[in-house]
C-alpha cells in the first residue's frame, strides 16, 4: 500500500532523485559536441607530428587554446555522464558506487590535467 500521493512522487523528481537532469545534460553536451568535434579534429589533427616550436606557437593562440579547452571540458563532462549510464547498467551495490567515484576522479582529473597543460602553453 502506497501512502504517497502522485504529487509527492513528482515533487521528489522521481526514483533517480534528479528528474531528467542527467538526460538533459547529455542532450545539451551532445549538441555542443556536434559542433565542437569537427572544429577540434581539424584543429588538433594538423598539429600532431609538427615540430615542437610550431606546436608551442599554435597552442599559444587564444582561439586554439579555447577550442582545446572547450573540447576537454565538454567532452569529459559528457564522458563522465555517459560512463555513469554504462556503470549503472552493468554493476550494482558497492562495485557501482566505487566505479562511479573512480570514473569521476578519472574524468575530472583528466579534465584538470588537460586544462593545466593548455593554460601553461597559452600564458
Amino acid at each position: 500500500m502506497k501512502f504517497a500521493t502522485d504529487r509527492k512522487r513528482v515533487v521528489g523528481l522521481g526514483s533517480a532523485g534528479s528528474g531528467t537532469g542527467h538526460f538533459w545534460t547529455m542532450t545539451v553536451t551532445s549538441v555542443a559536441l556536434l559542433a565542437l568535434t569537427p572544429i577540434f579534429v581539424f584543429t588538433f589533427g594538423p598539429l600532431l607530428g609538427q615540430p615542437y616550436e610550431a606546436v608551442i606557437v599554435a597552442l599559444g593562440h587564444p582561439l586554439r587554446a579555447l577550442i582545446m579547452a572547450l573540447m576537454i571540458i565538454v567532452g569529459l563532462h559528457h564522458f563522465r555522464l555517459g560512463i555513469q549510464t554504462v556503470i549503472e547498467d552493468y554493476t550494482g551495490g558497492l562495485t557501482r558506487k566505487a566505479s562511479l567515484i573512480a570514473f569521476s576522479i578519472i574524468s575530472y582529473g583528466l579534465m584538470a590535467t588537460g586544462l593545466f597543460a593548455i593554460a601553461k602553453l597559452a600564458f
Partner: protein, 127 residues
Amino acid sequence: MADVNRGNRPLSPHLQIYRKQLNSATSILNRITGVAMLGSAILIVWWLLAAATGQAYFELVDGLLTSILGDVIMTASVLGLWYHTLGGLRHLIWDTGRGLELDAADRMGWAMIFGAVVLTLLTILVV
C-alpha cells in the same frame, strides 16, 4: 501512478536468444566507441602535457603518437569519434520523435557506418 507495478514488469530480452540486427549492433558499437574515447582523451591530454613540459619530452610523446602503432590508434580514435558523433546525432533525431520506424532507423544505422568511414578518410586526407 501511485499504484504502478514496480516489481513484475517485463525484462529486457536476453542476449542469448536475441536475434542480432543492425539496430542492436550500431547501438552497442555506439557505447563501445563512447567508452573507448577515454583512451583517446588520455593520449591527447598526455600529448598536451608533454608540450607544456618541454621539447625533449614532447618529441618523445609526439614520436610515439605518430609512430605506426600511434597512427593506427589515432586513426581508430578518429573513426570511433566520428561514429559516436553520428550515433549521438541519431539519438538527437530520435529524441524529437522522428526516424523511429524500423526502416528509417536501419537507414540511419547504415548512414552512421558509412558516414564514419567517409569522414575518417576525409580526416586522413585533410590532416
